[in-house]
Point group: C2
């Protein structure tokens, strides 16, 4: 009889997660009750936000408790059902987390049509990361033709969509990524106007040269040294959608001084900057617009995407640790079955 | 024959301005040419933004050069004219700076009607500070009934208007000021729901108690210790119009560490804060709405204001140094003639 593997939070990471913070447990299959479905995970999405869920700090979503299954978006297949709305073989978008099987009452599941797009794109370009790019860029960034946009982690599922949408809106798109391979991908595959390697010793100078007219939109998803290089280049009235600060997620202390808060607030004032944080569900009312637009753009080849697939649930912890260090190239997915 | 006194920038202040940074010079009267007017200053406005003009640092407006007359909004009377649009005795709003007399070609002058409101209100509640409050609060703060607003320097011309407009919009208004006299004025004269003395040793605790439901709008005009007390109380989706950071204007160095930038950006993200800097002229297209609304509100007694009048141009430097330390009570004006 089949068993269910589950990846649990073994302990809260102190700094960067280590293998000891995860534990794989094999146990009995969950048993659906009348009207419920049994779902087998096909794809598990790994995303930087999960680092926040591993921490006890208060945030927009509840923490995962130590001993619980780690959370995550999934694409799963219906393997048993007594729920008349679903048939065996249906593929659905769900949030079953880091495990092989889960039971559902059907609520909140979205059926996916494999003939429209590969089902795992519902976890990437056509899912949460794509919608994060779409809503944050269009609603907060408000790109206008001729403006300069900068985004880091630019080969990732959010950054690559941000850059490509900005290009469609007539912006100059400058992408930041780690290493020559990713940088090549930015200009050759994703159509960025310039790509800068944040590992280069003269990274800040290179960025300044790539933005001769300054920066009008900085889509913030990393913080740290990238923010430091971007900050002096921001133009008057620049917009900064704050989507993530992944370079800080493993911080255990604040950086050494001086305290640059007054410098930041002074620039917000003098340059009349807008800094606005968001999470994708704040813009849930744009889901239909996103699905329509992004669906068309992907189909027409105007938005491209890249996937980085890891085979096997047992590899998820290592892949996730690598994600926080930028080791993936494209949307990081675990092929579970 | 009359002479013209002018207050010049003698040197750029290093930290807080001192008397040595100013120089009063008496010289010949300026001579209007054909079509020009000679204006005698009646009122000079003193405002915190002038500290920025004394500095060489790049900002939204050009610095005053050493040896030049200090800039400032003025109300002046026409004493000579060959310009048919103006008559001797007309009172106008202008920007003649810290001097007794100036010549104008008439461009950019706004005639004031003394029967509508005391002419010096064109420098306060019905002028730049009032419009700063109106535009920043309504456009960026977007107050909604039941929300909590906090503003510091709350007896000043901006803060007092911010609090009173917020009350009209149904907010709980909490004002911060220095000393018991100002705090009494906040609740008794300006109708704030609570007033907190930032000099109290338990200031941050008092602020937290005065905001039992957190803070939805923080109108930022001071920075420093007030920002530190406000920051942890900000609610999800709070808006922070950044209008000034007067507590930092005399800073010569950044404060000691740690660097709290990641803490700020993390909160912007998790709480989905909006921080947006502005200066009043960014909202020049709202000038008519402001004049209409604020004119009505002041006439109806719904918006009150307080003036702190210093007699004599020679007192301007000392009054300005006191302004940066919060020594004034209400809109600081110099009665020049």
């Amino acid at each position: 009889m089949a068993q269910n593997r589950r990846v649990l939070l073994a302990s809260r990471p102190n700094g960067a997660p280590t293998p000891c913070d995860f534990r794989i447990e094999t146990g009995p299959m969950p048993q659906p009750k009348e009207g419920e479905l049994l779902l087998r995970t096909r794809w598990l999405s790994l995303d930087p936000y999960m680092r926040g869920r591993m921490s006890a700090a208060k945030s927009y979503a509840k923490s995962v408790e130590v001993g619980d299954v780690l959370e995550g978006g999934t694409v799963a297949e219906v393997v048993e059902t007594t729920n008349p709305r679903f048939a065996v073989g249906d593929v659905v978008l769900c949030g079953n987390g880091w495990q092989d099987y889960a039971v559902s009452d059907g609520k909140g599941l979205r059926k996916l049509d494999p003939s429209v797009a590969p089902v795992q794109t519902a976890l990437g370009v056509l899912g949460m990361p794509g919608m994060t790019a779409y809503t944050g860029l269009l609603t907060i960034g408000r790109p206008k033709a001729g403006e300069t946009l900068v985004v880091a982690a630019a080969t990732g599922p959010v950054g690559s969509a941000v850059g490509q949408i900005a290009k469609m809106k007539g912006c100059r798109a400058v992408g930041i990524a780690g290493g020559p391979e990713k940088c090549r991908l930015l200009t050759e595959e994703f159509g960025f106007d310039a790509a800068i390697d944040h590992r280069a010793p003269d990274f800040a100078d290179q960025l300044a040269k790539a933005c001769p007219d300054g920066i009008d939109i900085y889509f913030e998803n990393v913080g740290g040294a990238v923010w430091d290089a971007v900050f002096p280049l921001l133009n008057d009235f620049a917009r900064v959608p704050v989507c993530g600060i992944v370079s800080h997620y493993n911080d255990t202390d604040l950086p050494a001084g001086p305290d640059r808060t007054p410098q930041l607030m002074g620039a917000v004032l003098r340059k009349r900057l807008t800094l606005r944080g968001f999470i994708v569900w704040d813009f849930a009312d744009q889901a239909k617009d996103f699905a329509r637009d992004m669906g068309e753009w992907v189909k027409a080849g105007r938005i491209r995407y890249r996937e980085d697939v890891v085979d096997g649930l047992e590899k998820a912890p290592e892949a996730f640790m690598g994600l926080l260090q930028g080791r993936n190239l494209g949307k990081l997915l675990v092929k579970v079955s």
